[in-house]
Amino acid sequence: MIKGVINKEMMGLETKFKVNKAAISKEPPVKISKVDIQHVAALAHLNLSKEEEESLARDMESIIRYSIDKLNELDTSGVEPMEHVLSIQNIFREDHLIESLDREELLRNAPVKADGYFTVPKVVEGK
């Protein structure tokens, strides 16, 4: 495994980079319990088997510990989050008609359909 090397020489470089020792010590250890995995799986609409739950909890813990321990070394105070590398603006287009895909063509991939519609299980209460 490749570990980060932070030596004094690098600290002198003209970057905003500095090691935030305080953050390391203050950061509570990340512990993802099984309950968390169940909660997250529910948010993601996934059913997990017992084995999946256990192995994912283990994987999550190691991946998140590695990631957060590492990132917490960085002092990011005052740094603007970068969602995107391009300076993106909303792009408008002229309001004119263009050809769109055919309804039947689009429905062809639907696993269940009826009368030109997608079919879903009943979602309204009552009979």
Partner: protein, 492 residues
């Protein structure tokens, strides 16, 4: 229609045909020394003979290919002006949508998905008369570095069948390396073009974010994904780049700038080019042989007149954790669309909507995809958003600025593509973190939206190909191509 020139039927043995680069084949096709059908048949025969032992293709488009051969040959026979790609047999990674042809993303979830439209890159390839041989295997939804995560089975490295071809564009790199496609298009979110290109001994380019339209590329992490070429040499890479780059109104992140003719950069002259080697890239953790090859490449560049200096990218180690948090967060959002209703797999026997969603997703996604969805959902969930996702995006800005500073001092950055040569199938399959560390040199390029190319730079002790990575300024693929071409000419 003019008659074919005499001798066309023995325009070359299949070995000779398969050895032709895009430019060579284009020349012979235009002169009608060979026919499109001969060239395509040679590739199809090669696939029939070899692919059972490699597994590069998920589907073969024989019917569509037949029509295309006829159409393109007619144009050539009529002496119409055609593109360099006219009649060239190629393959597409199976996350690039193709009208009427299965686009599975290597997933059970899309194992029956027949798209009703073409991706913009596919439209462009068709306009340029390229011949699509088929769709190439990949890690499920492009998540992986070994091509072991495909629902259609893993791909073997053509150089050594017990090794992985790399991923996620493993089928694309393996097909090009083993002459089962003249070139291929892959996609790269964190190294998925460059790492397999490195493992398979071919050329792979990740274009600058915004240079190639993502319309019709099945989304993994939208702020990082790019389509790019995998080719057998640098000149072919330039030819393919000419066709796939350009503004596309159907992709709102597509950059509306003037794109150069990349073949004008195919000149063997790099005098005065400033190349930086980040000291962090050649520190511990890097395979000794890879390091030797990278330093030898630096020497070769120097002897060609480039100025090679050591530079520092102190944030190198932070790119990987930032990448895995950001890409998984975006993936968890992008993959929310797979619900079993509009297209794709649908779990049988669910009479409750929420259960339908859950069962469909649980049965349709593989383990690695679930792992990333869970990781991403966790990062974005209430209480963790600031500490994880926002923190990663702040790190992203610092990494971006790190590169900006160095790319003000030098024209390109030189380093390894991967920490070692191709590893064994199964070797890292049970340790996701170790697998993720494969991407340590490639992810930062996507994080910062830069362009990078991986080109072969020798072999390791076991004879497996090694690649080096050249990283360039945004939209400066031309300089990468120029440096890579000069290296190839002077060392090949």
């Amino acid at each position: 229609m003019k008659g074919l020139k005499s001798g066309i039927s023995n325009g070359g043995t299949s070995v000779e045909l398969l050895g032709l680069s895009i430019m060579e084949a284009a020349k012979k096709l235009k002169a009608r020394e060979i026919s499109v059908s001969e060239l395509v048949s040679a590739y199809q025969a090669r696939i029939n003979k070899l692919d059972d032992s490699i597994g590069a293709y998920i589907s073969i488009c024989s019917e569509e290919t037949g029509h295309q051969i006829e159409r393109v040959q007619k144009k050539l026979d009529a002496g119409e002006p055609v593109s360099l790609l006219a009649g060239i047999p190629m393959g597409l990674k199976d996350n690039i949508v193709t009208l009427g042809i299965l686009t599975s993303c290597g997933s059970k979830m899309l194992s029956g998905f027949i798209p009703p439209y073409d991706a913009t890159v596919v439209k462009r390839l068709k306009e340029n008369d390229a011949v699509i041989l088929g769709k190439l295997n990949m890690d499920e939804f492009a998540m992986g570095s070994s091509n072991e995560n495909s629902w259609y089975g893993f791909v073997r490295n053509p150089w050594e069948r017990s090794r992985v071809p790399g991923g996620s564009s493993g089928g694309a790199a393996a097909a090009v390396a083993s002459h089962m496609a003249c070139f291929a298009l892959g996609s790269d979110t964190g190294g998925s073009i460059r790492q397999p290109a490195s493992f398979c001994g071919v050329v792979g380019l990740k274009p600058t974010y915004g240079a190639v339209s993502r319309y019709g590329l099945v989304a993994f992490a939208s702020s990082l994904d790019q389509i790019g070429p995998i080719t057998r040499n640098v000149a072919d890479c330039a030819v393919v780049m000419n066709v796939i780059t350009g503004h596309d109104p159907l992709d709102s992140t597509s950059s509306n700038i003037a794109y150069p003719d990349y073949t004008t950069f195919l000149k063997d002259d790099i005098k005065g080019l400033k190349i930086g080697i980040p000291k962090e890239y050649i520190q511990q953790g890097l395979d000794k042989m890879v390091k030797t090859k990278i330093l030898a490449a630096a020497k070769a560049f120097e002897s060609m007149g480039a100025a090679v200096t050591e530079v520092s990218l102190p944030l190198t180690d932070y790119a990987l954790p930032a990448y895995y948090l950001i890409s998984s967060a975006e993936a968890s959002s992008n993959l929310a669309r797979y619900d079993g209703i509009k297209y794709g797999y649908r779990a049988p026997n669910s009479d409750d909507l929420t259960q339908l969603y859950k069962q469909t997703r649980s049965e349709g996604f593989g383990t690695e995809v679930k792992r990333r969805i869970i990781l991403g959902t966790y990062c974005l969930s209430a209480g963790f958003y600031d500490a994880f996702y926002k923190k990663a995006m702040k790190a992203r800005r610092l990494i971006f600025e790190d590169f900006k500073r160095v790319l003000n001092e030098v024209d390109i950055i030189l380093g390894p593509t991967t920490p070692s040569g191709a590893f064994k199938i199964g070797e890292k399959a049970n340790n996701p973190l170790e697998m993720y560390l494969q991407d340590i040199y490639t992810v930062s390029v996507n994080i910062a939206g830069l362009c990078a190319i991986s080109i072969p730079c020798g072999r390791d002790n076991e004879g497996l190909p090694l690649g080096m990575q050249l990283i360039g300024r945004p939209f400066d693929e031309g300089t990468l191509i120029q440096a890579a071409y000069a290296y190839e000419k002077n060392t090949g």
